[in-house]
Amino acid sequence: MLIFAAFMVTFDVLSRKFIGWSMAGADEITGYIFAISTAWAYGFTLLGRSNVRIDALYERFPMPLRALLDIVALCALLIFMSFVTYWAWRVFHGSMGAPFGDTDVWSLSITPLSTPLAVPQGLWFFGLVLFEITAFVLLLRLLASLFRGDWTAIQLRAGTRTATEEIEAELTSHGLKDRD
């Protein structure tokens, strides 16, 4: 987590540095930094349970159903992001010149910088792959909890924010807080 944050600091310092000067291509580089740092942060958002979910109904469901929905929600996110990652792979692959069977022909951006696109796209794709791995590992752990019938564990890892807060409050009041 710390290393991850450190990466983001670096990205951000870079962006700040580049933006102050009106050098040609600053906007292009900002765009790349934006794409890459966002892609790297997807997994982080997932672990922080910060993805927006409309829990108007969810809140009224009993625990096991909620836990099941948590898993369904994660699967849905995983499916959608897998498509995004796959597209990202095609874009990245295309820029590496793979269609011509010749990896020396890299696509360059049509800007004064003529960036070899495969570089930012590769880093971006890597961020998405990291998300996929994070989500997949999380899914495995949730499934493990599911078979143990440990609903609370699922909610703590993947429940919506409000639901988790309720549980945590309850745990604290029963003196059970220190479980993670």
Partner: protein, 427 residues
Amino acid sequence: MLLFTVLVLLVLIALAIPVGAALGILALALDWEFGGWNFYPALGEITWQYSIEFILAAVPLFILLGEILLRSGIAERMYGAMVQWLSWLPGGLMHSNIGACAMFAATSGSSVATAATIGTVALPQAEKRGYNERLFLGTLAAGGTLGILVPPSINLIIYGLLTDTSVPQLYLAGFIPGLLLATLFMATVIIACTWKREWGGTPVETSWASRIASLPHLLPPAFIFLVVIGSIYAGFATPTEAASLGVVAALVLAAANRTLTFRMLRDAIEGTMRTTAMVMIIILAAIFLNFLFGLIGLTQQLTDFVTGLGWGPTETMIALIIFFIILGCFMETFSMLLTTTPLVAPIVFSMGFDPVWYGILLTVLLETALITPPIGVNLYVVQGVRKGGAMNDVIIGALPFVVTMFAMLVLLMVFPGLATWLPSLFF
């Protein structure tokens, strides 16, 4: 096709599937069902193009700007100055809450950041001075919503991107409605406190000397506002560049305040990236949807359907407003903006409404959504800052301001010039 879309969307969202994934899966399902899987090769390029979109890069920068201001103590001093200047009105500190929110909104593009920042600073005062707690909480939740109406605003950037509307024009259009809404909020407090004197709490002692002495504390936010908005209208910066300038200015101010530490920066960036990634998943999915709706002809179908109802533009707009108010009770603002804009905006434009005006109207509706129960993000934010007490206090306290917002909507409908006059002077 229309029924299919609405049903799938409703089911996915009701099941508490993350909104980004719900929109994305809907897009995939539509492509599968009606597009014959034809469009999906193009989606890779779209993903990349929008991931590096320079206008969108303003989103994390504005969030970062707010995070830095929040953590640097600048907001706290600004609130102190507002107390000196505004607390003589009936309702005392509650006016300072609204004033400080409006001013903070002018440096921040987010309503949540505004409510959280001002809430943190203001709440300790409520008990100390015997205010009616509910109304006090209400001013914070409602005042905070100004964040997305008073420029800079993150929501207006996204709206501008989705509808091809100029962001600088939208920002100019937000000024007058933003100030007017703040004034209306204050009027609400005055009315409430004239009616029930005991709600007003004990007044703060002020003098002209201390008012003058507090003025310098208003300078940092004014400076940032000038840097961000000034650079856009002076014509030398795009919104994204202005946001970067704002971040640099905020860092300089934080350094001058001696609150710039590595830890503070790390926290600020962590918070920023978390929010940005969350928003970007939804934005990407909404962009796919936007693209697909156009390609499979759904937008056309929906427009035909609405035109077929035979309602005039005004009736349609009123129906839309009611629909948004109901939707706003259950949905969070970003999701609402991104889910509905691809569908609704083409209809509205085809009826001859001005895109800039509709952007502002929609923003006021989103503000209402922020404080309408059961899902009102600002209600949760204020409750979260408060730590303890019943959620109902915040909800009831915010209700009078929901009424105020309805009044604002009516004003916008009757006098569209409130939004369109200022941009028409410049463009």
